[in-house]
Amino acid sequence: MRRKSKNPSTKRRKPAARADRGQTKPRHNVLLVATRKGAWLFHGDKARRTWQADGPHFLGQIIHHLVLDPRDGKTLLAAASTGHLGPTIFRSTDFGRSWTEAKQPPAFAKATDGQKGRSVNHTFWLTPAHANEPGVWYAGTSPQGLFRSEDGGVTWSAFSNLNDDPQYRAWMGSEQDGTPDGPKLHSIIVDPRDPAHLYFAMSGGGVHETTDGGRNWTPMVQGMAVVDGFDAENVAFHDPHCVRLCPSNPDRLYQQNHCGIYRLDRPSRKWIRIGETMPRRVGDIGFPMVVHPRDDKVAWVLPMDGQTVWPRTSVEGRPCVYGTRNSGKTWKRLDDGFPKDQAWWTVKRQAMTADRRDPVGLYFGTTGGELWMSRSEGDGWTSIARHLPEIYAVEAADME
């Protein structure tokens, strides 16, 4: 559908202004909410107290990730699929008033005769490239693949030789080695100081780094635990759920893993488990990882129950966020405003984020379709929306 399509079910708004590029104070925030049945934009007022819903966009389509390009403040990319149709990527340059489909969505190379090739089930993760590379984007897919676009998301090609590298294919494993929604390549991170320095993570398949623009990749799994009984030396057994780089200190990364919460301070290559200081009955299992935009000692997680069969719900049915303000030495429970019991929330790895305001606003969406926020860095929580479809991803765009 290379055509431009109007979205009849979308409430019309004027095109938004440029996004915050870190040089001026933002005037308001827009939340980009991707769900199993479409996408919504929530426009906040200056005080972040009221939110106006714009949507649904793509009603009925699975939207895995919806991301605004911070370099131009107007280009939106949406990673889409449906239960029946193949995956694609939609692009808008008028903040969702019209969408154009990618001419060449991410796709694996066709297998040679006699070989079994892979097919992209969906694009799971979208990351704008370096600020000095306008129009360049990266995409992570399920099953695990890494792709790059150099024309603003219109055409996509495999990035580096990763997708067909025999060692990486072994680490990626099969369909059975991934999440219930399929194995995923995610957490594509670009060093703000160097466009050739990238990280990505795979569930499963570990965390990886390149310092030469993708010509060579190196696993970075030292210090990360694996499920009991498995060999931590085997990269394939590592399951990072979400990795984030601190904007204020690009040498510091935080990670929520299947087996704990970690911090990495470069140039070290050894992850330090910082989740062991969480209360024992809560544990340090979860999916999202959120970092403060200006303070590398501050980060937040949303614990999930990882016992026995992995319920992936709020521990004991009592939702909470935990925050650290000292790099993981101690954690504080942040649940003021949440239900006190019988609330069995699940929050996916892309469904929690922060804005750039002061104090920082925190946001997350549940698989039950609830959208929550804190205007006070987690000290109090309020509901923005209920009754949305299953929320897959939440991003916060700071608008000038």
Binding site: R3, H84, L85, E101, F108, A109, K110, R118, S119
Partner: protein, 85 residues
């Protein structure tokens, strides 16, 4: 030949039924994609496999291979499987 288009793909063709040409299902899908860019990849993956929830019928008989031969008088139906939630 006449090709019945599944409703999830109507946004590409703006019609319930279109005309297409080709001596195989592969050629017919290529013809559709020329005129309605992007439509093929939603139905057929990069390994030329029909997507698992899409169904192709030729004169009422289900076919599974993109090399299936077609005649100009054939009627092709593209439908989505009765699955989902």
């Amino acid at each position: 030949m006449k090709v019945l288009i599944a409703s999830p793909l109507h946004s590409y063709v703006n019609a319930r039924e279109v005309d297409a040409a080709g001596t195989t299902l592969r050629e017919m899908l290529a013809d559709l994609d020329r005129r309605y860019p992007g439509i093929r990849f939603r139905m057929v993956d990069e390994q030329d496999l029909l997507r698992k929830h899409m169904r192709f019928f030729v004169n009422g008989e289900q076919v599974f291979d993109v090399e299936h031969a077609l005649r100009p008088t054939d009627e092709v139906q593209i439908v989505q499987a009765l699955s989902g939630g």
